[in-house]
Amino acid sequence: MIEQSNPFQKISSLEQALKHLKDGLTIMFGGFGGVGSPPGLIDGMITNNLKNLTLIGNDTGFPHIGIGKVVSQGRAKKVIASHIGSNPVAGKLMNEGLLEVEFSPQGTLVERIRAGGMGLGAILTDIGIDNEMVAYGKKQMQLNGKDYLVEPALTADVSIIYAKKADPYGNLVYDKSARNTNPLVAMAGRFTIAEVEEIVPLGSLNPEEIITPGVFVDMVIPSNGVNWKWVWE
């Protein structure tokens, strides 16, 4: 292994990263059906026996894929997601009263995450305004004669994301549709850990192509890649 120069002290190890993931925290995760979720950090959460987590992300993956591994072991007390359909264990835990689930429409959820990352308080949307479950407990407001739901911003104690490449400043590029929610989740964490396939020298990423500026990333750790079997395999 070539020793990376580490001028911003952001390059670290899985072991160090896991010190930031503790019982009871609110953890936001990148990924969509497991694609683009950080496999090393997820396994570390299970190995470290984390409990009482509040998890925020697009979905609960599959029982053996992505954040689904954590959810199906009962490590979360609450999930905020747009669907849990691909993870029957999550549905079972919910029906048994062991897991609280807050559903948010997918497009609204990602805007709420982005709003948190961008330092905004909320967004106004008409999506789901007629829907009891979506509108429940939320403020409404009329603007220019139209009714809107006030959808509050979401932030997290720690965000965990997965990227293709990082430089020592934490600038990130993603791979194809594995980008999905990662750039949004990256901004919304008070502490953001990026698990990456490759760490490249400072200056080797084209500044035009950087998707997540390193200012939003607090720690970069190398990944061993996905270790689960996809449903289509």
């Binding site: 747009s82 497009g107 805007e111 194809k176 549709s177 949004l184």
Partner: protein, 219 residues
């Protein structure tokens, strides 16, 4: 070529797509629609996770785990495709830049209400991106079997299941017929040659009008 029921429905849905359109397809029968489009047609298929310009499924063994549609299945891309984050994907949808959305459903009411996300007490999978697609696509096409497994009509006077979105459905394509919703009124506009208006009335749990120019589908 003799088409099975699912492909007949998909073929009929493909007729709603014109050159240059942006199209979002749900999982299940809608995913068969691209097979019924002429290859010369310029259509951009969109996925909610963050792809515009999906192509055919990859050959077995050629899948890329980081290039999947919103259902989690591997896809390919066409020239002119782009990747973006999920906020941009839903920005396109909410802004009305998606021309046609083709979804499956559990129930549709005669007023065009859509109920496709939840069966209370049974299955609570969550709405995913269905609400945005249902309420904001320029045209919403529902592809579904006319009746459920118990033989009950899925086209109903009022949805009994929780709504995904009100009055959003423009076209319903079932294995028996095609209905158009115009100003909250249901019109039968086409049916397959294998059935009759009488049979459709029998199997449909609400009244409907007959379109001015009722057609029999040739395939």
């Amino acid at each position: 070529m003799i088409l099975d029921e699912r492909n007949k429905m998909a073929r009929r849905a493909a007729e709603e797509i014109a050159d240059g359109m942006v199209v979002n397809l749900g999982i299940g029968i809608p995913s068969l629609v691209p097979n019924h489009l002429p290859s010369s047609m310029n259509v951009m298929f969109q996925a909610e996770n963050g792809i515009l310009g999906m192509g055919a499924s990859p050959l077995s063994g050629k899948e890329d785990e980081n290039l999947c549609n919103a259902g989690g299945y591997p896809v390919t891309i066409v020239p002119g495709a782009s990747y973006f984050d999920s906020t941009t994907a839903f920005g396109m949808i909410r802004r009305g830049r998606v021309d046609v959305s083709i979804l499956g459903s559990l129930q549709v009411s005669r007023q065009g209400d859509l109920a496709n996300w939840i069966i209370p007490g049974k299955k609570i999978p969550g709405m995913g991106g269905a609400m945005e697609l249902a309420s904001k696509a320029k045209k919403l096409v529902v592809l579904m079997k006319h009746t459920d497994k118990a033989g009950k009509s899925k086209i109903v006077k009022e949805c009994t299941l929780p709504l995904t979105s009100k009055g959003c459905v423009d076209l319903i394509i079932t294995d028996l017929a095609v209905f158009q919703v115009v100003n909250k009124e249901l019109f039968l506009i086409e049916h397959y040659s294998s059935t009759t208006v009488e049979l459709i009335r029998e199997k449909t749990d609400c009244n409907f009008l007959i379109g001015n120019n009722l057609k029999t589908i040739a395939y």
